[in-house]
């Protein structure tokens, strides 16, 4: 029985033995986030994105014994529904669960290694929905594929169910999706009724200065995670996942709380203090004036998989420390 992705009451996943060096992990996870954003951007650009691979069509009669996943979030889902032993290959960015360290690496969004994928003789390959060429190559080789689409929380739960069906673990996937949704709901109800701080959720900027600040707009999983954690997104009216925030916008939106999320291994208090200090150049922002800047580090903030439950919990604790 593979390990569930989130153990017990389980918010202690940080630091529990990643299978790759921490430095790599940080770099990789950042890549994952951006890759995911790029994918969603690419999908949006094409206008009507092709429908997701129909779970019914091409469904293997028997569960696939060998699965390759090019999508870290999907890999986490497969392990979480119990399909971990079937997973034989993962992307270059996969770092969770620790078992992925023993799986073959087959490239990622931009550089899938088709030869290596074929050599693994998979019966199902999870790819990004935008990897149309790869889908066709696989289909010519007679290999079923599942197109992963980036989206909000609802999309995550439905992907968990889809992957459960496709991997032969439908009941476990149904239970997991319900359980994850319920646990997020539990956090939400815990902070419900409290004042929702107007929050800016930053997921990238220049290291030492407030330049090229990127924050969550009003769509996508980060926005929904913030919403569930009891925060009011100051950029909720901007219908984009990623917003390049100018100095003027930072001042005009006047967030009462700033949360910086970063992928990777935990950082020391000095590094976190350094990140917070960078905001001192804009003391007029209420969050800066009142010292309400939280730095949250962990891959759960960039990979829209089962660990989003952890993300919601950590964010809720940062925004509403009195509720816990």
């Amino acid at each position: 029985m593979p390990e569930p992705p989130v153990r017990g009451s389980g918010f202690g996943v940080r630091g529990s033995g990643f299978g790759v060096p921490a430095m790599n992990l940080a770099a990789r996870a950042r890549g994952v986030l951006l890759a995911a954003l790029l994918v969603s951007g690419a999908a949006a650009c094409r206008g009507a994105a092709p429908a997701r691979s129909d779970p019914a069509a091409g469904l293997p009669v028997e569960a696939p014994a060998r699965i390759v996943s090019l999508v870290p979030a999907a890999t986490e889902m497969l392990f979480a529904v119990g399909a971990g032993p079937q997973v034989v290959g993962v992307s270059s960015f996969d770092a969770w669960p620790p078992e992925v360290a023993t799986r073959a690496r087959v490239g990622a969004l931009l550089d899938p290694d088709v030869e290596r994928i074929l050599a693994l003789r998979p019966q199902l390959v999870v790819i990004y929905d935008t990897q149309e060429e790869l889908r066709q190559q696989l289909s010519r080789a007679g290999i079923a594929s599942y197109g992963f689409r980036h989206g909000g929380l609802a999309e995550v739960w439905s992907t968990v169910r889809d992957l459960g069906r496709r991997s032969g673990h439908a009941p476990a996937a149904g239970t997991l999706a319900r359980d994850l949704a319920a646990r997020i709901e539990a956090v939400s109800s815990r902070v419900a009724g409290r004042p929702r701080p107007r929050t800016l959720l930053v997921f990238g900027r220049d290291p030492a200065a407030l330049r090229s600040v990127h924050a969550s707009g009003g769509t996508g999983f980060l926005h929904e995670v913030l919403d569930a954690a009891g925060g009011e997104n100051v950029l909720a009216d901007v219908a984009r996942e990623s917003v390049a925030v100018t100095t003027e916008l930072l001042l005009a939106r006047a967030p009462a709380h700033i949360v910086e999320v970063r992928p990777g291994a935990p950082i020391g208090p000095d590094a976190a203090a350094g990140l917070r200090d960078a905001w001192r150049v804009l003391p007029a922002i209420p969050a800066v004036r009142d010292g309400r800047i939280s730095v949250l580090v962990g891959d759960e903030f960039v990979i829209p998989g089962p660990r989003l439950v952890v993300a919601v919990d950590r964010l809720a604790r940062a925004l509403h420390p009195d509720a816990f």
């Binding site: 030492a208 330049r211 984009r240 007029a284």
Partner: protein
Amino acid sequence: MVPLRRRLAATVLGFGGVAVTACLLAPLVGSTRISLIRALDRSAPFADNLDAQIFFVARLPRTLAAALVGAALASAGVVLQALLRNPLASPFTLGVSAGAALGAMLAITCAGTWAVSGVSVVPLAAFAGSLGAVAIVYALATVKRRGLSTEVLLLAGVTLNAFFSALILFVQYFADASQTLRTVRWLMGDLDVGGYGPVLAALPMVLLAAAGVALLPRSLNLLSLGTEAAAARGVNVLGAQRLAFLSASVATGAAVSLGGPVGFVGIIVPHLVRLLVGADHRLVLPAAALFGAAFLVGCDVVARVALAPLELPVGIVTAILGGPFFVWLLVRQR
């Protein structure tokens, strides 16, 4: 014929008026509506005065940055077009911007993510990269003969551009997606400097370059006729060429490290200005600097308000305005 002195006064007054007006109006416009009266109201403490903060912290520094970058790039463009006797030359022709881009990209990719200090290393690395490119191009252009060969200068610059671009792509291929995104974003130009520090850091370099350029107009007029003609009329050809190359390069390096390689300002503005004031560099240089400042300040306003609250990278605005103009210019010259 109106004497030069009066034409110069008229030019500086006219273009200076445009530049000053642009710099005064630009901070009043933006994604947020602010009141100038409240912004200048000293009775309320600055910390509680949102209008003042947006005016003085967000808009004024970037207006000044736009003016500085626009003036530096436009004058560098004029100087290089005269030096290389090529209307297609721009501040980026000689590899300066590619060197800066390589420096910036290495800083983005290799510098520690957790660098903690007030200053970002990206502009410093960009400036160092631009100086490195200048040194290489200059060394190549002077290596074989005593003079400065403008043909070799041009070819060395173009080759260095290609070489640095390949290095950039090489490092990019192994960088992760977020670093790639930041590099691409840097290449589009960004004037949201978020304070006066970066502007003040670039100012001495731009002033140094301006001092060099101020000595050049007469020599550039004669150099445009060819080096032999210039030498026959008493121009110290090598000295003038060196000064022109180095001033234009320092101006470009400072501008690019402040705002990124904002395209087209350095190539459109010189031609626009020549259409208006003629080819005399004693008029073209001040006019180009002032009009370049006004043009980039205006483009930055468009970039800020066109899709507000989202912002267009200013390099996109200048290129969208500049591209069609440039094509028209090419066709017209046939």
